[in-house]
């Protein structure tokens, strides 16, 4: 049974109070959270060790400038765990990175929340998202989608965090502005908050109340997947889709899963030799440059699509407006389905390409 901490304060305020308590009482070495950078409304992720700096913390701000899971995997190891407040998709990507030996789950007290989604870049950058916030929180209170969230968020089915030590309950909490409910799932989170001043009770996060939202999101996902319509268009469709790719590799750089130290597509072997283009010309009559943009995306799909958590960062950064995220999620779900794999589900579950079963896929290779 999980424990519930309840505080008579707004959800964000209550969470900041807990973070302060953890830091001041030396339960954690640091706090990783979103924070106002300059007080002018700009914000950024920061690793904080000085409790006073938590005054500016806005851990629940619905904006993901970078994928936090990717960022915390690059933080230095500290004496005690770092309390990290990240959204469910960031947590899932961190779990995927841990499986790739790029981080340790024990280094963090993972705090997440039932997520109502985050804003797209363009919407937030215009006015720092301030105008959108009231409507957003109203929607979260009702447990429905705000109309301004990202496409990938509006079709995300994993808004209840898994593997978190603490879950802050947001979606469908009517008293969001006056009450903060935090569910403690792990023993160490219970031990750390023992002396924390809050009402403690036993209970479990009810999944039932999310059914309607889950159904709506699933419908939206089906719609998005249908809209991109890749299977009917084949190679020509791929060429259409990636004909406008400028080869900036931005989608790869922001991807929380694409973290190979030696990347195929960053090596000099990837850029075709001029002679390759010269040899292709007589056959094709013309060669589109930069070359190999379709190869880049299919190659990346073959390397990591099964681990795609659908955070949507790739679509956000694409300057050519290619729906990269939808394509990767759609293909990723198909691929992961072969191995009954769900990215971010369990730290001990290994990624499909590093393990095998002797008695699987026996239909392949027999002639």
């Amino acid at each position: 049974m999980d424990q519930i901490l309840s505080i008579d304060k707004g959800a964000e305020e209550g969470l900041v109070q807990l973070l302060k308590f953890l830091l001041e009482n030396d339960k954690v070495s640091g706090v990783f959270t979103l924070r106002k950078t300059t007080g002018k409304g700009f914000f950024d992720y920061a690793l904080i060790t000085e409790p006073g700096l938590l005054e500016d913390a806005i851990p629940l701000h619905p904006f993901m400038n970078v994928n936090g899971g990717k960022i915390i995997s690059s933080l230095p190891p500290m004496k005690k765990p770092v309390a990290a407040v990240i959204r469910p998709c960031e947590l899932r990507s961190f779990v995927e990175l841990v499986k790739r030996s790029q981080g340790s789950i024990d280094d963090f007290l993972l705090i997440s929340y039932t997520c109502g989604g985050s804003f797209p870049f363009d919407k937030t950058l215009k006015d720092n998202g301030q105008k959108l916030l009231p409507g957003y929180w109203k929607a979260v209170e009702k447990g429905v989608d705000s109309e301004n969230i990202r496409q990938s968020c509006a079709s995300c089915e994993h808004f209840v965090p898994q593997n978190a030590d603490i879950t802050v309950s947001l979606l469908g909490e009517k008293d969001l502005r006056s009450k903060c409910l935090m569910y403690l799932h792990s023993e160490r989170s219970m031990a750390m908050t023992e002396e924390f001043d809050a009402e403690i009770s036993d209970g479990q996060l009810e999944i039932k109340r999310f059914e309607a939202l889950l159904e709506k999101r699933s419908e939206q996902k089906k719609k998005d997947f249908k809209e991109i319509n890749i299977e009917d268009s084949g190679l020509d469709g791929m060429i259409d889709l990636f004909g406008r790719c400028i080869g900036c590799h931005g989608c790869m750089r922001v991807c929380p899963i694409c973290q190979c130290v030696l990347c195929d597509f960053e090596s000099c072997g990837y850029d075709p030799d001029t002679s390759v283009i010269a040899n292709e010309l007589p056959v094709r009559g013309g060669v589109r440059v930069p070359t190999d943009t379709v190869l880049f995306h299919i190659g990346r799909l073959s390397h990591m699509s099964f681990s795609c958590v659908g955070c949507g960062q790739c679509t956000e950064v694409c300057p050519a407006d290619i729906p990269v995220s939808t394509l990767f999620r759609k293909t990723g779900e198909q691929v992961a389905g072969i191995f009954d794999y769900i990215p971010g589900r369990d730290v001990d579950e290994e990624i499909p390409v590093t393990i095998f079963k002797e008695d699987e896929l026996s239909e392949l290779g027999n002639d």
Binding site: I230, E231, D232, S233, G234, L235, D236, G237, M238, I239, G243, D264, P272, V276, I277, E280, V283, R284, G285, G286, V287, R288, T291, D292, V294, L295, I298, G299, L301, S302, H303, S305, F306, K330, T331, Q334, V335, I338, F339, P352, V353, F356, K357, E358, E360, L361, S362, L364, G365, N366, D367
Partner: protein, 141 residues
């Protein structure tokens, strides 16, 4: 007279099994189709899926990967990984609506020269019936 279509099939052959199988076919004076363009690899698991995609997009009419039978890998378990990767890549091709039939994986041991000839001949015929790889003539590379 129309020119007969002679497919090109880039073939990644495991040094220990399939490549030796091809050798055996040769020493026994058996014929396998000239469409097979062998690339020797130390293990079928050396084949990065990107190699196969690249061959395909650069105009290979077929891509063939040959390895040891499951359980017989020279490196104990390499071909099991090959098998998973191949399953992943074909699933990606299917999802993207591309012709996964142009990719082939086959287990052929060093003793199976006859099988090598049979499998490569059959695959060549299949590719012939499918026609040229449409990626070959695209301006998009």
């Amino acid at each position: 007279m129309s020119k007969e279509f002679k497919p090109k099939i880039i073939s990644f052959l495991c040094k220990w099994c399939t490549y030796s199988g091809a050798d055996l076919a040769g020493t026994n004076r058996m014929k396998y189709p000239a469409s097979i363009l062998p690339v020797r690899v130390m293990c079928s698991s050396r084949v990065n899926p990107v190699f196969m995609v690249k061959s395909f997009l650069h105009g290979a009419d077929g891509v063939f990967v040959g390895g040891c039978h499951p359980g017989d890998c020279h490196y104990q378990s390499g071909n099991y990984f090959t098998r998973r990767r191949f399953a992943i890549l074909t699933r990606i091709f299917d999802t993207l609506g591309m012709e996964s039939e142009r990719l082939k994986l086959s287990w052929i041991s060093a003793a199976e020269g006859v099988k090598f000839v049979r499998v490569t001949t059959e695959f060549t015929e299949e590719i012939k019936s499918m026609g040229e790889n449409p990626a070959k003539k695209k301006v998009f590379l």
